[in-house]
């Protein structure tokens, strides 16, 4: 009795199914139809090409600062795939793969990065929250959504995302602690891409893994190979199944890597060596998944080329759609409150007069744009 080790009740596992060479662990291989495999591959391809195009658009000054998710496609897609449409998907800001899979019109995502609220507006029936900027804050409303789902009495779940850096925030802690204490159907996926802008993973926290932070909340944690789409699907399926049965939250640490810049305003050469990036290249989630499905005979080179063409066309269409969008400058006055207050009514009138004043609605002479370092 006097001095003892305390037995911890929660499991912290690690999971990897499809290795870097595209070899699968047969015992763990999740059941996926050919159709599923194709869907997943297309979604990953689409996300990759979208990212590449966005980087180009940014360089051309056609959108604002952009935060790519290159190399992280599996980590955000797996959970999107493993849940139902009626479940909720609560992204942070590096989940274009999952968001596109969930049905966000690509043009809207482009418009978000182009500085338009319409890019944060999901389609009428989507159970999806928009991109969230304040790091870790979305864990809280993710938990709140899970609470609502629990109160609704069905078996729906919410999946919320956060970065490795975000685990340092108080909101990460409060959200997970409350979700666990209330037994909410919430799955939290940490996209551990090893960097919070310039702060490497090991300087963010002294914990060996991020998955083990689950112990603090009395829930299970699992560290997955985040570049392994099969592991991501499987880990999420397990967590979701548990949550649906009232088993409460699970913490998934998806170990992945930020292959590119934090955002286009960032210059990673200041703080990380190319050598660190190198070993991650062969771990590319697309490369190994391609190996897997082509070995399986699900898709051949010709099919893949065809798919790439379709994806390119889809992206170009989205670019066009987004660039033909014109924001309505009066709209902000309609969306502050359900009804305008007298002050807003008056300010709206002033603003309208101002816009009419020189016919084009653009401010003249105000601070010129200078945002070299804004991420």
């Amino acid at each position: 009795m006097p001095r003892k080790k305390i037995t911890l009740e929660n499991t912290i596992d690690s999971l990897s199914i499809l290795d870097e060479k595209g070899k699968v662990d047969k015992k763990l291989e999740p059941k996926l139809s050919k159709d599923d495999l194709l869907k997943l591959f297309r979604a990953m391809t689409l996300a990759r090409r979208y990212d590449e195009r966005m980087l180009k658009l940014q360089r051309q000054g056609r959108i604002g600062t952009y935060g790519p998710a290159l190399g992280q496609e599996a980590a955000s897609l797996g959970p999107a795939f493993a849940i139902d449409e009626s479940d909720w998907y609560v992204p942070s800001f590096r989940e274009p793969a999952g968001m596109l899979y969930r049905g966000w019109p690509m043009a809207r995502l482009m418009l978000w990065w182009g500085g338009n609220e319409i890019g944060a507006t999901p389609l009428p029936k989507m159970n999806d929250m928009p991109i969230s900027v304040p790091v870790a804050s979305q864990i809280q409303y993710g938990a709140g959504i899970a609470w609502g789902l629990k109160l609704d009495g069905g078996d729906r779940v919410a999946v919320a995302f956060v970065g490795d850096g975000g685990t340092s925030e108080g909101d990460f802690h409060e959200g997970l602690n409350c979700a666990a204490a209330f037994g909410l159907p919430l799955v939290v996926v940490i996209q551990n891409n090893h960097w919070a802008i310039s702060l490497p993973r090991h300087k963010q926290s002294a914990s060996k893994t991020l998955a083990q932070k689950a112990i603090a909340y009395g829930i299970d944690g699992i560290q997955t190979d985040g570049n392994d789409i099969l592991a991501m699907v499987e880990a999420t399926r397990e967590a979701v199944a548990k949550a649906r049965k009232g088993g409460g939250p699970t913490l998934i640490e998806a170990v992945t890597y930020r292959m590119g810049v934090h955002t286009t305003a960032d210059d990673p050469t200041k703080y990380r060596k190319d050598e660190e990036v190198e070993p991650w290249k062969p771990k590319d989630p697309l490369v190994r998944f391609w190996k897997y499905i082509s070995d399986k005979g699900v898709l051949d080179e010709a099919g893949r080329e065809q798919m790439e063409k379709e994806v390119t066309a889809q992206i170009s269409e989205a670019v066009e759609a987004s660039e033909s969008y014109e924001p309505n400058l009066m709209e902000p006055f309609d969306h502050c409150f359900a009804e305008r207050t007298p002050a807003l009514e008056q300010q709206r009138a002033q603003f309208e007069a101002y816009l009419n004043g020189n016919g084009n609605g653009k401010a003249s002479g105000s601070a010129p744009v200078s945002h070299s370092a804004v991420h």
């Binding site: 609220e117 507006t121 929250m129 709140g144 609704d152 409350c178 969306h335």
Partner: protein, 326 residues
């Protein structure tokens, strides 16, 4: 009609909300079994159960944050911050999401939540339990700020706040919780948010206040009349967002003189906005500078020293006399 104090009146409004709207949920620290540290949620857990009246861990950011998620899934959360001095922990959730979600999603998601916070000094509480920081909330775009002053308007305004489709900061003058009773109608009563009330008509000077400060102001008005023959018009703002400039202007245009009273610090406080609005709309009617009777630009002292640092009858009277003798 029952004679209720403000605590009971608020309790009535909450009870009505839970009964009328089965999506309404009360969440906060000690709101359940303990019935709230001020007993505002008395009897509610018993009547509506643990799902509707939720004892929350000591995590204010999570109270607001989870409430936002509840809103997204169609619920009407009514949050209690135990004291306004601990509401700051949720500031970022309020600023970043609660006040922005409607605008951000072009109305797809909204936050019809209410955040109740007891504020103000004068109850001999320890540090952090006596602040008046309504300014910081009222300055944020996208949130209404309602501050009742008596049992009847507290009940009617809390009902209105819960029914409001947008986030409402409901700032409760805790010194008034049990200070006096009023007739509160049995049938549901709602007041429109954003309308000030002329609680006393007068011709010599306009005194504008809200919340707990209404009590010394009312007393001062009586004394001004009885002892000094000054006929003051009193306005109870009742909400800072929206601010009822029409009512303010009408009165100031009549009296030409004005005093604004609140507990909050003076510097960039609500009184400054009242004055600036009057200057914009009614400058030419002013016959004297407007006096502000407010908290000092200090942290309110620990309770053994706090009373002299708050607005009181004597301060209101002398400011009014000053305005009138200008």
């Amino acid at each position: 009609m029952a004679m209720l104090n403000m605590a009971k009146a608020l309790n009535l409004a909450l009870r009505e909300a839970l009964a009328e709207n089965d999506k309404a949920i009360i969440l906060g620290q000690d709101v359940g079994y303990d019935e709230g540290v001020f007993r505002i949620t008395e009897g509610l857990l018993k009547q509506f159960g643990e799902e509707r009246v939720v004892d929350f861990p000591v995590a204010e950011s999570a109270i607001i944050g989870l409430a936002i998620g509840l809103c997204v899934t169609g619920y009407t959360p009514i949050c209690e911050m135990q004291f306004s001095g601990f509401g700051y922990h949720g500031f970022h959730q309020i600023e970043s999401h609660a006040t922005r979600l409607r605008n951000r999603t072009r109305g797809r998601f909204t936050c019809p939540m209410v955040i109740r916070m007891p504020y103000g000094g004068g109850i001999r509480a320890i540090e952090h339990h006596s602040e008046s920081r309504e300014t910081i909330w009222a300055h944020l775009p996208g949130m209404k700020v309602v501050i009742p002053s008596g049992p009847r308007n507290a009940r009617a305004l809390l009902r209105a706040s819960i029914q409001d489709p947008d986030p409402v900061m409901f700032y409760e003058p805790k010194a008034s919780y049990r200070a006096f009773r009023e007739e509160v109608p049995d049938e549901p009563e709602t007041m429109e948010i954003g309308k000030a009330q002329v609680v006393r008509e007068g011709n010599d000077v306009t005194i504008i206040s809200y919340g707990a400060s209404m009590r010394p102001v009312l007393e001062a008005a009586e004394e001004l009349e009885e002892d000094h023959g000054i006929d003051a018009e009193l306005i109870d703002l009742l909400s800072l967002v929206p601010l009822d400039r029409d009512t303010i202007n009408a009165s100031v245009r009549k009296t030409g003189r004005c005093v604004v009273v609140h507990e909050a610090p003076k510097h960039i406080g609500p009184a400054a906005e009242v004055v600036a609005g009057i200057v914009e709309d009614s400058l030419l009617y002013l016959e004297a500078p407007i006096e502000r009777v407010t908290g000092y630009d200090l942290v309110l002292p620990f309770f053994n020293s706090e009373l002299p640092f708050m607005p009181d009858v004597r301060k209101v009277i002398s400011a009014t006399q000053k305005v009138l003798s200008f």
